[in-house]
């Protein structure tokens, strides 16, 4: 055990898997950096330094820089996955999915089904999402509901350094295409993380708080906010369960339903835009399967139906924060 940041946890997972399995390679724009340039060789390690330090150990053949050609290199990762490698490809910001989406949802996601179960496509697409960086409309979106919508993709959203390492190792070992979403605001978060490799299962949510009054269902960066709210409200006698989904596909329906039935009061906290997102999906799940147990209307706390704004004052209003979550919990608790 030692304290590691979210960034270090992902880096360590990659390093350990690359040591274990020579077919694991990674690729992306400036994932090493300095290609063809006169200065430092391992110059960037990705735009926020997640892959820095790996190239000196594993070499340029397994640590690939790419031109700015997402269709080609994300597609190449998919093709390589179907033919013997286990590539981890970085789509720098999830907002850039539009450039290469065909290779993900028509190719990677469908091979196994379309080809009658004959293909495996063990590709991991790492990508950065979320608001909070003042990075404006084209660098701050969530978009994970779009991936979640597509059968054949697994969608993983680590909420902390510990989660990130275990889920990344699982993602690399998994034989299906995995979209691995890293929240840009979490990279410097730090906690105790085991030094040895370990995996965390897909489709098994993690109960980070247990309480009988209100169920908070959440994911990604919002887990941290929900934990804070749960801790605060405990002092006021409102005891919350917090469910970290870990993966939106597969989805741990059992844990959500069991907990919702127990409390009868549910708040779903999802950083993405509110139409057809994870919160609406889980609301529908609960409404269909646990209706009789509900003591209050289900509440969703999400971003509004707007692109992420640039101005800090607007972005702060845009992001679901602790105050909005607390207000929602108090409302369902009082119902």
């Amino acid at each position: 055990m030692s304290r590691k940041t979210y960034r270090q946890a992902i880096n360590e997972a990659l390093a350990q898997e690359m040591r274990r399995d020579p077919t694991v390679v990674f690729m992306g724009e400036d994932n090493v950096g300095g290609m063809g340039a006169p200065g430092e060789d391992d110059a960037w390690g990705g735009v926020l330094g997640v892959t820095k330090g790996l190239m000196p150990e594993f070499g340029r053949e397994r640590c690939l820089d790419t031109p700015i050609s997402e269709s080609a290199f994300i597609g190449a990762a998919v093709g390589a996955a179907a033919t013997g490698l286990r590539p981890v490809a970085e789509l720098m910001f999830v907002d850039f999915m539009g450039v290469c989406l065909d290779q993900i949802f028509n190719q990677a996601a469908k091979f196994r089904y379309m080809f009658g179960g004959k293909a495996v496509t063990p590709v991991v697409i790492r990508t950065m999402y979320g608001a909070g960086f003042r990075a404006a409309s084209q660098h701050s979106q969530c978009l994970y509901p779009i991936f979640t919508h597509i059968p054949g993709l697994k969608v993983v959203m680590p909420s902390s350094p510990y989660e990130a390492k275990g889920l990344m190792i699982q993602a690399i070992r998994d034989d299906d295409p995995v979209i691995f979403l890293e929240h840009k605001v979490l990279y410097d978060d730090e906690e105790e993380v085991p030094d040895d490799p370990y995996t965390l299962p897909f489709g098994e949510a993690n109960l980070t708080r247990e309480g009988n009054d209100v169920t908070l269902v959440t994911l990604g960066r919002m887990v941290k906010f929900c934990n804070e709210v749960a801790d605060k409200l405990e002092g006021d006698g409102i005891r919350c369960s917090v469910i970290d989904l870990r993966t939106t596909s597969p989805l741990d329906e059992d844990t959500i339903l069991e907990n919702a039935e127990e409390t009868g009061r549910v708040v779903i906290v999802d950083e993405s835009n509110p139409r057809c997102n994870i919160a609406t999906d889980i609301s529908a799940l609960i409404a269909q399967n646990a209706f009789d147990a509900l003591k209050a209307p289900i509440k969703m706390v999400t971003a509004p139906h707007t692109p992420p704004p640039f101005a800090p004052e607007l972005e702060d209003l845009y992001i679901p924060d602790q105050a909005k979550i607390e207000a929602a919990v108090r409302e369902v608790a009082a119902h």
């Binding site: 290609m35 003042r134 409309s137 004052e313 607007l314």
Partner: protein, 327 residues
Amino acid sequence: MATPSGLQLPREDLLRAYRMMCDIRAFEDRVHEEFATGTIPGFVHLYAGEEASATGFMMHLGNKDYIASTHRGHGHCIAKGCDIKAMMKEIYGRRDGLCGGKGGSMHIADLDKGMMGANGIVGGGPPLICGAALSAKTLKTGGVAIAFVGDGGSNQGTTLESYNLAKVWDLPAVFVVEDNRYAESTASVWSVGGSQLKRAEGFGLPGRKVDGQDFFAVYEAAQEAIERARGGGGPSLVHVETYRYYGHFEGDAITYRTPEETDEVRAQRDCLNLFRERVTAAGVLDAAQIDEIEAQAKALVDEAVAEAVAAAPPGEQDLMTDVYVAY
């Protein structure tokens, strides 16, 4: 085609060109300083060093001509006539910024000025420019449309598809590859397979390579490409060799290149210095006029920063507006 030597430009055009370049330089140098103080939010990519490229093209354009820019958009915006004070307010995220504080540095746009936006998506601009050129052609406005892309952006499928589309639709479009040697930390000598001119040729576009530090060279190449497009001669490409002085974005440690390399370009190939030397040696402008333009640019930017710092941010009433047209 007759390409007038830049030095034969009317004096007012020379003054206008130098003012554009100085405005851009003063703006970028100041944003660089202010960013370091922590007062400017978000991602900021500066154009300092590349001024002759935007200026050499924009000198030939009017408001009915459209351009699409990149993430490194401030220079294109200024040269296309965007209001400098409103731009600065936008970069600070202010309510009366050019985009209401909703866009920021990477999304400055002013459609009334024919500026279709800086762009957060590398390769986002060229297809849009095919559309602007299609509008100009269909509506017979006489306008042309120009896409600026970086060396990195030249590798994006959208860029290459746009070359082809512009050719087969015979559009009044110009593609300008601003090759500043790097895309983030990656050198263009590595990332670009083949050559920009051969790529253009492969799609049937005439291509020309110019020294982007030499305003007059850019000016002439731009004139040729723009006149061709405007006269119905179809799309073409200009490969501009240039250099960015600051990091990829503000905060970049710039370890992938050497300080000596940058110092050398600054000392020997700076586009403002070269312009100044050329016009003063030829006696078409005198040093006092040049100094005055530089001082005015700095004063304008000083005012822009002071006003931006003092300006009000947007508030809750602005969050939900302009997602759609209001009826």
